[in-house]
Symmetry: D2
Subunit: 232 residues, 4 copies
């Protein structure tokens, strides 16, 4: 599982760099309350489910994942709000942005009617009128980036500070690469929130990639969490 | 002090919404270790300085500030990385951006020669060549926003979801309004980092505004912190 | 409400020292996502309930309470595990313990049959056999403290370090006084856990005292939280 | 290094259960700001030192250690105050205490004259007067535990709840076993505080055991941290 990159969106990825612990770690941490450890697979597995079902989440903090993630700022913008995670990110003050390192949605979603902050499922826009002409959104999008990157690069050539030149770029679309370290308790909470119907598609697919990694490393915890989630 | 807006940058502000505690709160929290409280102003003041000088910072966690802040995303992008703070922010998924709610730098700083991630002090660019023409950066900047907002608004009129339409905007410059609640210990740490020479000017001025509020509410802590900072 | 001490157990208390914000703070923080504030009491109240019911808890972090608490170590031992709280406590390394500042249970609970870590409801022990004699637990308890405090005080008279002399005392029963600062989000979570049937009686009564303070300061949030809790 | 128990005090230990990452992890996390990784041992090592010397500590959060620790409550009482650590501990509500699982100091330290909360270096008490008789502190200590455990066990035989019966024991001396997971940034901070002259001997020796493990796993970070510490 380590060092396999799961592709996400058009140019992003989630890569498991390292992890500490697995299902057995949860069991040992839980059973330390009465100074015991494993009682065999069947009982251990039940215990993991019991802990999840009753919200006894502290034993899940001893299982840790380190990811390398490449995602557009619009995703990081939501990701960095998870304050128990540890982050180190590429710096736009330090490193110039590359003119093809931005996210292009494969489809343009329609605003949801029922939920003011979300998109409608399965409905898309393709063309809009601009300056009296009907044009594809994809073409317009591309031309915005070409226009903005041309200026950005000219600003850099004129020695304008990178920390300021980036103000001119469609920042939310730029890909940033970074490290994220998080424990299983808080990762499951993150996935709960960010794989929900309310979540923005762009972060949902990152949550799903992390979910698939957790499924491999902690199959007991994953299966129970999924069952509890589906039952509720 | 409450409900006074300190203007920051061209359209931003820092406003103290509420606070809990002051210098005396620090003293009481510190002296609970031996079940005492105030010993008079002079001794109390010395105690505050002693705690700061020796890194005994836990008593400073009981003094809390709630701010309402309006700042460009480039500032929030750094602000939200302070993981002990509590945040609630305007949502670009929920609320459409207004075409004049973006930050225009008054000056374009030159990249620092010695520090790869910072700007040179007191050196500015004004004009660059674009398409064979010398033009003012300010004019170009304005035209980028006009161009991008025209498309953004057309996308919204065509019912493209706000969460996706924003990908086309120069996101880092957009003003977001939000609430930030933080304790004095972590605020002083924030100001230490973000008012340093290495910090980006745009966040520095927000750190300074918060500093001026702390100075009013906790004059003893502020003065000692400043003295210790200057001496080191 | 401020500076009123709610008596808890035989010699303890919970005292509200200060607080920041109330129900309206939650509303403002929640509505900043679309740049609005109050919409009148009825709608505001519904919003608070909606946030609680859907687990949108970040707006509750801007309401802060500072308590002064006097509780036996057995209570603090559980209290300090709430890692989002800020603490400053009396120091047993610094301050000698007073020979009547310990907790005496009014009743001795029977071990639960169904729950290995809890007590049976409403069943108590009063007398046990010791050295062939039937004696009241209260009398034995008192004599243990007299015996241990006599040695503790003799150790101090002989200049043994306080940090070590305390090893001889029935530490879990000693009253410690301290400050606790916590936000409403994490306080409600604390009360959820510590006022449950599973919780130890000694901490439950502290959770209830804090609950009664929250009820006064944030009646909307409190009522909704209670309704949701009872419905689930 | 894994699964080796370092003995601490008379019956305690620190055992490295697992760890994630090492010096190279710090380097990768630091260099992601400009999208690079290793530049060879010499430069990588310098970078680690530079980060430590300038307080750029976020890259150290991606190196994680999980310990199994057996320590008296007086040590845990201080350890659990480190709120970034994850803990799972033996439960005195769940598990009866064993009558020989308590800490006996090898020496009884004298109260410091200059520091109200610490012990004098290298000065010890051995005998005190009790009931008109000169007796060794060790003998008295032992008899207190025999006396208290006799009552404790009688309470349990009479079915008094374990959560309450423990009130009668010299709780601070009882050994508890637990898991502690912490990142390198916060571990170094912990060791800074708890291996200082001001720290209580009993926790100092645990901090030293953790230090010796860090030294093995992260020799670059350790050496630099030590040099910077000694120079200041």
């Amino acid at each position: 599982m380590k060092n396999t990159r799961i592709p996400v969106l058009d140019k992003g990825f989630v890569e498991l760099i390292d992890h500490m612990g697995d299902d057995h770690t949860i069991v040992s941490a839980a059973r330390v309350s009465y100074l015991q450890e494993s009682k065999g697979d069947e009982k251990d597995r039940s215990l993991v489910k019991y802990m999840l079902a009753h919200g006894h989440m502290s034993p899940f903090e001893h299982v840790i994942f380190q990811f390398r993630i490449k995602a557009p700022v619009v995703v990081w913008w939501q990701l960095v709000r998870h304050r128990t995670f540890s982050f180190n990110l590429q710096s736009g003050r330090y490193t110039a942005f590359d003119d093809n390192e931005y996210y292009t949605p494969s489809r343009w979603r329609i605003q949801s009617k029922s939920n003011k902050q979300a998109s409608e499922l399965g409905q898309f826009a393709e063309r809009i009128n601009l300056d009296g002409q009907e044009r594809s959104i994809q073409d317009i999008y591309k031309s915005v980036f070409e226009f903005c990157f041309e200026i950005y690069e000219e600003l850099l050539r004129n020695n304008v500070a990178k920390e300021q030149a980036r103000l001119i770029l469609p920042f939310a679309s730029l890909y940033y690469t970074g490290y994220v370290t998080a424990d299983l308790r808080n990762l499951l909470h993150f996935i709960d929130l960010r794989s929900s119907q309310e979540a923005q598609y762009e972060i949902k697919v990152y949550a799903e990639a992390m979910e698939s990694i957790i499924k491999e490393i902690c199959p007991w915890a994953y299966k129970s969490w999924k069952e509890i989630k589906c039952a509720s």
